[in-house]
């Protein structure tokens, strides 16, 4: 063993990447691991997207065309789980891996081996989750929220593997978050105060805190399911004195912070991109920090707005309604600040900026429909309709996913050393932007008119809008193959990027060459004037 340590000691900091495929398996480098996360995320995005396209194809016309209802249920379950846990979350963790050390002047993540462990658990977890499709009894069929007793008394045998897949994802998230928090708190370049950190770092610090707080609760609730299924306990069975509603309370205590876990890093990305292309400092930096913290705090005390229709005391409904509406205030602060940053800026509209502006507009639409859903009496009408589907897809797709794409275009020149093709990038943006709105906007209308979610068939009056929606889905879906092409093309070559890349960019990551060397800031930077944009 000591020989290995000696070896480690000598080539510490001096080695480049190892050769061959094993580089990616054994790596402890934050950039390699960030790349792995991003590719896993993209693969899962295509897989979850393929499920979504089958769903939309089935819904193209009323009646049952393509899949059996039982399989349809499995598809919506896996689509949700894979997009949430496989596409959006790993993408943000990948961005954090790539960017946080470079933004705070750290040599790597604080615990590099654990970083590799956090990543490599995930492919196994998703392989196990996806393999449930081929198991006897089929894949989990109860929706990504896996409400008991659908998931306990009535779930297929593969539910057990689903539970353990969730455990693995949770372990990965908790270790990843501990790593990010420790990196931010302990590895900032000397002299960098918390209030000098780029907003992306701030949002990830708070997101990581949320993850450590709620992923164990998710682990707890799936463990209770496991016990109910296999050991005859009565957590979610009223016959034994338990309560199925208890499941929903615990699940949403995790689930609501979870939706902010998927949006706070997006806020950080947008807060980096808009100042660059408006060529102004971010308006209201400290209010952005406090707004992020407020949203995180509020996320813990609003969970039952997901369950207004399960029958809770009136006082409870009123409380959860008003508390939920409070979230609009810090969120409004953020939107105001982004707009104020653009105000009188000398703006240009490169691809990342287009995605960022689309984020601000479309995320706000999703936020406003969220406010409508927060009104308890109105929610009795909207609950479990396509209006809810439209709402959370507006915050997650043109919200989180657009911000991830914006981030990829924005930092890809720094990662690869090559500029992407601006014309292709803009084409990808407009295809996505048009596709996503055709896809999800009509779902508001069918939802308000009463079309329930999670059904393979629907009443005839919803046919037109569903057809439009499906056309949009295929346009958006296939545009992402184009995105893959653009990214691969950029990796293989293109106009060389300068170290600054963007004229208006600020931050330590722009002070190092493009592509970023394998090891950066092995000694911390002394000059922090560039530190915050």
């Amino acid at each position: 063993m000591s020989a290995v340590i000696e070896e480690n000691h000598h080539d510490d900091h001096h080695h480049g990447p190892a050769k061959g495929i094993m580089r990616w398996v054994y790596t402890t480098n934050h950039k390699d691991i960030g790349t792995l996360y991003l590719w896993l995320s993209f693969a899962m995005f295509l897989l979850g997207g393929a499920f979504a396209l089958v769903i939309r194809a089935e819904l193209f016309q009323p009646g049952l065309q393509i899949v059996e209802p039982e399989f349809f249920n499995q598809l919506i379950t896996l689509h949700g789980l894979i997009m949430v846990f496989g596409a959006v979350m790993p993408a943000f963790v990948g961005l954090a891996n790539w960017l946080v050390p470079m933004m705070i002047g750290a040599p790597d993540m604080a615990l590099p081996r654990m970083n590799n462990y956090s990543f490599w658990i995930l492919p196994f977890a998703f392989a196990m989750l996806s393999s449930t499709l081929f198991m006897e009894g089929g894949a989990p069929n109860f929706g990504w929220t896996f409400y008991a007793p659908l998931s306990t008394d009535f779930g297929p045998p593969s539910t057990t593997y689903f539970i353990f897949a969730v455990h693995l994802m949770g372990i990965s998230s908790i270790m990843g978050s501990i790593n990010i928090i420790v990196t931010i708190l302990n590895l900032r370049a000397p002299g960098m105060t918390l209030m000098q950190m780029p907003l992306f770092v701030w949002t990830w610090l708070i997101t990581a805190y949320l993850l450590i707080a709620v992923m164990p609760v998710l682990a707890g609730v799936v463990t209770m399911m496991l016990m109910d299924i296999h050991f005859g306990t009565a957590f979610f069975n009223a016959g034994g004195g338990g309560d199925p509603v208890l499941f929903q309370h615990i699940f949403w205590f995790f689930g609501h912070p979870e939706v902010y876990i998927m949006i706070l890093p997006a806020f950080g990305v947008v807060s980096a991109i808009i100042p660059t292309f408006a060529r102004k400092r971010l308006f209201g930096y400290s209010s952005m920090v406090y707004a992020t913290a407020s949203i995180a705090f509020l996320s813990f005390i609003v969970w039952a707005h997901h369950m207004f229709t399960v029958n809770m005391p009136l006082a409870g409904m009123l409380y959860f309604m008003y508390a939920t509406m409070l979230i609009a205030i810090p969120t409004g602060v953020k939107v105001f600040n982004w707009v104020a940053t653009m105000w009188q800026g000398s703006m240009t509209f490169e691809t990342p900026m287009l995605f960022a502006i689309a984020f601000v507009v479309l995320f706000t639409i999703g936020g406003l429909s969220g406010l409508m859903l927060a009104i308890a009496p109105a929610d009795f009408q909207y609950h479990d309709t396509y209006f809810v589907v439209a709402h959370f897809h507006y915050v997650l797709v043109p919200g989180s996913v657009f911000s991830i794409m914006a981030a990829v275009y924005y930092w890809l020149p720094k990662w690869t050393g090559n500029m992407y093709d601006e014309t292709l990038g803009k084409t990808h943006f407009w295809l996505s932007f048009v596709g996503i709105n055709i896809l999800f906007f009509p779902q508001h209308f069918v939802g308000l008119a009463g079309m329930p979610r999670r059904i393979p068939d629907y009443a005839l009056q919803f046919a037109d809008y569903n057809m439009v929606s499906t056309v949009g889905a295929f346009l958006f879906g296939f545009s992402q193959i184009f995105f893959l092409f653009i990214v691969i093309k950029t990796i293989r070559g293109g106009k060389k990027a300068t170290s600054r890349v963007w004229e208006g960019a600020h931050g330590l990551e722009w002070t190092i060459p493009s592509p970023a060397p394998y090891h950066t800031f092995t000694t911390p930077p002394k000059d922090l004037t560039e530190a915050h944009g």
Partner: protein, 303 residues
């Protein structure tokens, strides 16, 4: 910024490529896949399951990898490859890990709170409920501990609750004492008194093992004399899951302390380099605090 103040930042150790994480990933995957196999075969009533073998291979791989991983960290530390800053990373990391454990227990305590304060009343149609007023179990009388369940055919209910006097009280005394003896052992390190460290840490491990033995006896008592089982409705459910997960954490904590005892005997730890010991001690105190809450909530005010 002078060179001296920067020194801690100049030497952050980034380990080179490592085979350990991928081994641990395969290990943990095989472990949970094996457990899943065993459980599904058990519930389906299969005669034998290959899951046990998968679990064994996974567990061995996981255990071996963790052993090598921790040994590597200890050896790197002894080789003075870690700066003060690096050590702070471990300290923060352990702190946040314990926070995640707190939240895990919070889910189970939260479930108990919900059931006792709202759930059982609502099932019986009592209390301040929402507008939908359906009563599914007409003859059900809510009480805690819940011995008569709404559906006794499926969930027979316990005959008697587990009182706090007797084994649970003994266990409380054992665990609280063990926290005290552990602190004395810590003082041993700080004073450079290895004999004191080994003696008191040994006593702590003995108290921990005694706790686990008592818990096994308590479970036997519950199953054979009180009719208190996992299947006894929500009282048995919360009783066994809360005490059971606590017991699992005590087992892990005992293992950690035993490793620290072994390391102490080998001559590890000095007053300025003993975070391995301190991390295990933090964990132990955390487990102790959970027990004290448990003792009051589950036993004293729960039976």
């Amino acid at each position: 910024m002078s060179e001296a103040t920067n020194e801690a930042y100049e030497t952050y150790y980034v380990p080179s490529d490592s085979k350990l994480p991928i081994m641990a990933s395969i290990g943990i995957f095989l472990t949970v896949f094996g457990i899943g196999n065993v459980l599904n075969d058990m519930t389906a009533g299969a005669e034998h399951s290959i899951g046990g073998w998968i679990l064994m291979v996974g567990g061995l791989l996981m255990g071996t990898t963790m052993f090598i991983w921790f040994s590597t960290v200890i050896k790197e530390n002894h080789a003075k490859m870690y700066s003060q800053q690096m050590n702070r990373s471990f300290v923060w990391g352990m702190g946040w890990f314990i926070f995640s454990e707190v939240m895990f227990f919070a889910a189970f305590f939260g479930a108990l709170f919900y059931v006792r304060v709202f759930g059982i009343d609502w099932i019986a149609g009592l209390g301040n409920r929402g507008p939908a007023d359906v009563v599914y179990f007409e003859n059900f009388v809510p009480a805690w501990p819940l011995l008569n369940t709404p559906n006794p055919e499926l969930f027979p209910g316990a005959d008697k609750p587990m009182g706090w006097f007797g084994l649970p009280l003994v266990n409380t005394i054992l665990l609280v004492s063990s926290s005290v003896t552990l602190t004395i052992a810590h003082h041993g390190i700080k004073e450079g008194n290895r004999k004191k460290l080994i003696t008191w840490l040994g006593i702590t491990v003995a108290l921990a093992v005694a706790f686990l033995v008592c818990q096994v006896l308590e479970y036997q008592e519950a199953y054979s004399h009180l009719g208190l089982t996992l299947n006894a409705g929500i009282y048995g459910t919360t009783f066994f899951l809360l005490t059971g997960f606590h017991g699992a954490h005590v087992t892990l904590g005992t293992f950690m302390l035993a490793v620290m005892l072994g390391r102490a005997i080998k001559g590890h730890f000095s007053d300025d380099d003993c975070f391995g010991f301190e991390a295990a001690a933090w964990y132990w105190h955390f487990v102790d605090v959970v027990w004290i809450i448990l003792f009051f909530v589950v036993y004293v005010f729960g039976s």
